[in-house]
């Protein structure tokens, strides 16, 4: 029993292995990019527009609004990273309705990659927004005693992100796999539907958490008096 698509290897050159995770990721990338290209090839700037353009606009403005609600006042700076995270994880879950497909997010390697991406993106956005000095100072606040705890928190939340997504996606695929052996009719379909829901929720959770971490890192802390006034 395979737990992860990493284990399905198509080509093996020692360290370099072309496994199902990478192939499925390429497939997802292809669909996302080609779909975007086709839809955005003829974009309308007038009042009338195509249904697909409407869908994309709803999606993008929805993401933008969510980012803004989390506390990032300029969502367009972050929409590329956070939006792509969401779309990638969501579409990875969505395609589980195709038989034989395994979501690349069901591989710990992929989720670790995404979590590392967040781990890098948080200080990157924090530094660009606040400057290096101010960003580093956030680790010794309220006092320098908090420094190790802050560092541990950084690491642990990254780990949590990776494991949470992996656990959810893997378990979904796993449950379906097990159920298929027990009762091959109807029940797996219900579980697939449940898996779709879980996948969407996970995509939302992952990107929202990333947004929250970025928001926490980019927020310029104001003195208490000023905050109170504000």
């Amino acid at each position: 029993m395979r737990l992860s698509p990493d284990e399905l290897i198509f080509l093996d050159y020692g360290f370099v292995k072309l496994n199902a995770t990478i192939v499925y990721t390429w497939g997802l990338m292809l669909i996302l990019v080609v779909g975007s290209m086709i839809i955005t090839r003829k974009l309308s700037v007038t009042q009338t527009r195509s249904r697909w353009q409407n869908l994309l606009e709803i999606l993008i403005t929805g993401i933008e609004k969510q980012i803004e609600e989390v506390g990032l006042p300029h969502p367009r700076k972050y929409i590329n990273f956070l939006g792509t995270l969401f779309l990638f994880i969501a579409s990875a879950s969505l395609f589980t309705i195709i038989p034989g497909y395994e979501p690349p997010t069901g591989s710990l390697s992929t989720t670790v990659t995404l979590a590392l991406g967040v781990f890098i993106a948080v200080p990157y956005f924090g530094i660009t927004e606040q400057g290096l000095g101010h960003y580093l100072k956030t680790y010794i606040k309220p006092t320098f005693i908090m420094l190790p705890f802050n560092l541990i928190s950084e690491l642990s939340r990254t780990l949590a992100l990776a494991v949470r997504l992996f656990g959810n996606m893997m378990s979904g695929a796993m449950i379906i796999g097990i159920l298929l052996t027990i009762s091959p009719f109807i029940f797996p379909i219900i579980m697939t539907m449940l898996g779709l829901l879980t996948g969407m929720v996970q995509a939302y959770i992952f990107s929202i958490l990333a947004a929250v971490y970025i928001a926490a890192a980019t927020r310029v802390r104001k003195p208490k008096a000023e905050t109170a006034k504000a």
Binding site: L3, S4, D6, F15, V16, K17, N19, T21, I22, T25, W26, M29, L32, V33, S36, M37, T40, L43, S44, V45, T46, Q47, R49, Q53, L56, E57, I60, T61, R76, I79, N80, F81, G83, T84, L87, F88, P104, S107, L108, S109, T110, V112, T113, L114, L116, G117, M170
Partner: protein
């Protein structure tokens, strides 16, 4: 359930590529389209606002113009009414004048008619009276009316006062020509001699008398010498009758 580090690296590369591609093909064009549309809408709105303002301005202008026109038309109407009134007055006066002229003309025509009628009546009366007189005289005395008239005329000549006689003789002396005697009828030679004799008695010499018959005199005798005139006519007797007729006609005309 282990982490395959090659897959991690590959996925990181994949993710970076995906980030770039999505930015290139999804977010940029879609956000651009949204921005463009919003800009377009904002432009449309501001344009609409401007047009609304302009429309409002134009409406105010038109209202003002309408008001001006109304005021002007009221002024023109008033003027036209006044002009009309004046014109009416003028036409009325003209008509009145014309009517007056017409009435005057008619009155004159009536007067003329009256005059001619009166003349006609006079002449008829004279003729009739003369005819009656002639018939009566003829029936009563057997003498012709002419004889009677000549008789009366000679009597008149005989009754002339000194002043009249002097005038007559003076006129006769300065007049080398004949004396003209006009009668309404041809008179007989005896009567001519009677008249000549009467004249001779007055002027003390034999006159040369030229007898003329003028029917317009109706019944009368007229003697003219060098502009001096002496006459007797039934017309004299008829004048009172004629006056009576005139009075009657005047009453009728009124």
């Amino acid at each position: 359930m282990t982490i395959d580090w090659f897959t991690v690296i590959a996925q990181a590369v994949n993710f970076l590529v995906l980030l770039w591609l999505m930015k290139r093909f999804l977010y940029k064009p879609v956000l651009h389209a949204i921005d463009q549309r919003e800009k377009g809408i904002a432009e449309e709105l501001s344009k609409a606002e401007t047009q609304k303002g302009e429309a409002q301005k134009q409406k105010e202008e038109y209202d003002q113009k309408k008001e001006d026109l109304n005021r002007q038309s009221a002024v023109f109407l008033k003027k036209a009414q006044e002009d009309g009134q004046a014109e009416r007055q003028r036409l009325l006066e003209e008509a009145r004048d014309a009517a007056e002229v017409l009435s005057t003309k008619r009155h004159e025509a009536l007067v003329m008619e009256e005059k001619s009628l009166r003349n006609e009546v006079n002449q008829r009366i004279q003729k009739e009276a003369l005819a009656i007189a002639r018939k009566v005289l003829k029936d009563l005395a057997g003498a012709s009316l002419e004889e009677q008239m000549v008789g009366v005329f000679t009597q008149c000549l005989g009754n002339l006062d000194d002043m009249e006689i002097k005038t007559l003789t003076t006129a006769l002396k300065t007049q080398p020509g004949k004396i003209t005697l006009r009668t309404a009828f041809d008179i007989s030679r005896e009567l001519q001699i009677t008249i000549e004799d009467s004249i001779q008695k007055i002027v003390q010499r034999k006159p040369e008398v030229n007898f003329e018959a003028v029917p317009e005199l109706i019944s009368g005798i007229e003697l003219s010498v060098n502009g001096q005139k002496m006459s007797w006519s039934v017309a004299d007797y008829l004048s009172s009758l004629s006056e009576g007729f005139e009075d009657l006609l005047k009453v009728k005309v009124r």
